[in-house]
Amino acid sequence: MSGAAAGMGEGVTGRLSRRGRWLSFLTKLGVFVMLMLLWHAVTVTEIVSPFFLPQPGAVMTVFWRILSSGRAWPDVSVTFFEFAVAGPLAVVTGIFGGYLISMTRYSTIVLEPVVSSLYAIPIIIFYPISIMALGIGPESKIAHGALFGFFPICLNTIQGFSGVDAIYLRMARSTGATKAQLLRRILIPAAAPTILNGVRLGLMLCFLAIIGGETIASLEGLGHRIVWYAEGMQMTNMFAYIVFVILIAAVMNICLSLLELRRRGA
C-alpha cells in the first residue's frame, strides 16, 4: 500500500520561519561581502596583478559613470531586445511543444527521448551556421537564445504533464470532469511547479546563449562590449560591463523565484 505521500510539488523545503528567513538573508549577504573583501584583498596586495583584475572600488566608479552617462544604453538595449524576443519565444514554443508531446502516452514515450538527446548536443556548434544564415546582427542571437531556452522548458513541460498522479485523474473522471476542467483544475496546477522550474532554467540558458553569441561574433550588445574592452586591454571598463550582466542575471533569478513562491501559495 503506497499510502500517504501522493502530494506533488508540495516542496516544503525552503519554507523557513521569519527568523530563519532573516538568518538566511544575512548569510547570503555575508557570502557576498566576503567575496568582495577577497576581491579587494587580492588586488590591494597585488597577489593578482591589477592589470588583470582591477580593484572593486575602481570598477564600481566606472560602473557608476557608464550608468549615469547613459553610455551603456545602446548595448544594454540591444541585449534586452534580443532577450525580450528570444525568452518569450522559448517559453511559448517550449510549453506548447511539451504539451503536445505529453498529450498521448505513445508520443511521450517516443518523442521525449528524442528531445532529450537533442538537448544533449552542444547547440553552440551550430552558431557559425546561424551567423551565415541570419547575419551578425540580433537575429542570430535571438535564434540561438530561443533554441537554448526551448529544450529545458519543453522537457520539463512533458515531465510535468505526464507525471500527474493517476489518482487525481480517476477522481476527476468519476466526478464527471470535462476535458477543459481536467486541464484547468488538475493538469495545469499539478504540472506548474515542474514547468516553472524549466522556464527558469530555460530563460537562464537563453540569456547565456545571447551573451555568449555576442562575445563570439557581434557588433553590439553587452557581450560584444565586454570582449571589445578585453581586446583593448581596458580591464576596468570590461569589469564594469560584467557587473551589468551579473546584475541582470540576478534580477531575473529573483523575479522567477518570486513567481515560483507565489504559485506555491506561500
Binding site: M1, G7, R170, M171, A172, S174, T175, G176
Partner: protein, 275 residues
Amino acid sequence: MGTPDGTHEHLVRVEDVSHRFPAPEGGKDVLALDAVNMEIKHGEMVSFIGPSGCGKSTLLNVIGGMISPTSGAALVNGQAVSGPLPKQIAYIFQESALLPWASVLDNIKVGLEFQGVLKEERESVASAALRAVGLEAFATSYPHQLSGGMKQRVALARALSLRTDILLMDEPFAALDEQTRMIFGEDLSRLLASERKTIILVTHSLAEAVLLSDRIFVFTSRPGRIKAVLTIDEPHPRTPAFMTSQRFSALRNELYDLLRDEVLAAIGKDRQGLS
C-alpha cells in the same frame, strides 16, 4: 421489475460480469472476474472481501463505470452502466486523492464543479459536508497540514457533498493506522445511518466488514467468484458495544473460516507463479 414509486427494487444489479485483463508481457490473459451476479438494495451497506487479486476492486470499478467488463453488465437503477455516473455514484479511493495545491474547502468544491453544481451553491454545500465530518475548522488548511485520518474524512466529505445515492469505497482505510481506522469506521457507521446511502465497501479487514456491513460478499481467489454471502443483522449506527460483543467475534471468526482457504489458495498460486 419496478416498485410502485417507479424506482427499481434493486438499485445495483450485477449480471454475469466477467473481466479479463491483458497479460503484461504477452503471456496468458488474467481472468479477474468469472460470471459474477449480485443484487444490492436501496440503502444497503455491503462489503466485498477476499484475497488480494480476487477482482473485488475490479467489480467495484465495473459498477462505478470506470472499467467496462469483458462480458456481462452492471445496472444502476435498471440502466446498464457504460461510463462514470457522477450524479449517482461517488467514490472514495484508497488514497485521499486530495489536490495538494487546493485548500480543504476548495478540494470539496472542485468535485462539485466537476459534477456540474452551480457556482453559487458550491460554497454552502461544501461547508455543510465539511461540518458533517467535523472538520469545519480546517476549511482553509491544506492537505499536507492534515493527518492521514483527517485527509480521509475530507475525502468522505467530498463524496458526501456530491449527494449521490451510491457511495463506492475502495479500501478507504488502507493507509490509516488501526486505531484511526476503527474510530473512522464508527463515525462512518453513524454518518451513514443518517444519510441512507447505498454503499459498497472493498476491504481487507474482517473487523471493518463486520462493523459496517449489512451483507458481506466473500470472494474466491482468482478468478473472482462469490463464495458466500454473510448477513449481519444489526441496526446502524453500530456502537463500540457491538464491536466488543461475542456476536461480533463469532461473525468475524465465521468470516475468517470462509476466507482462510481462499487466501491460502491465492498464496499457493502466487508461489507456483514464481517458480
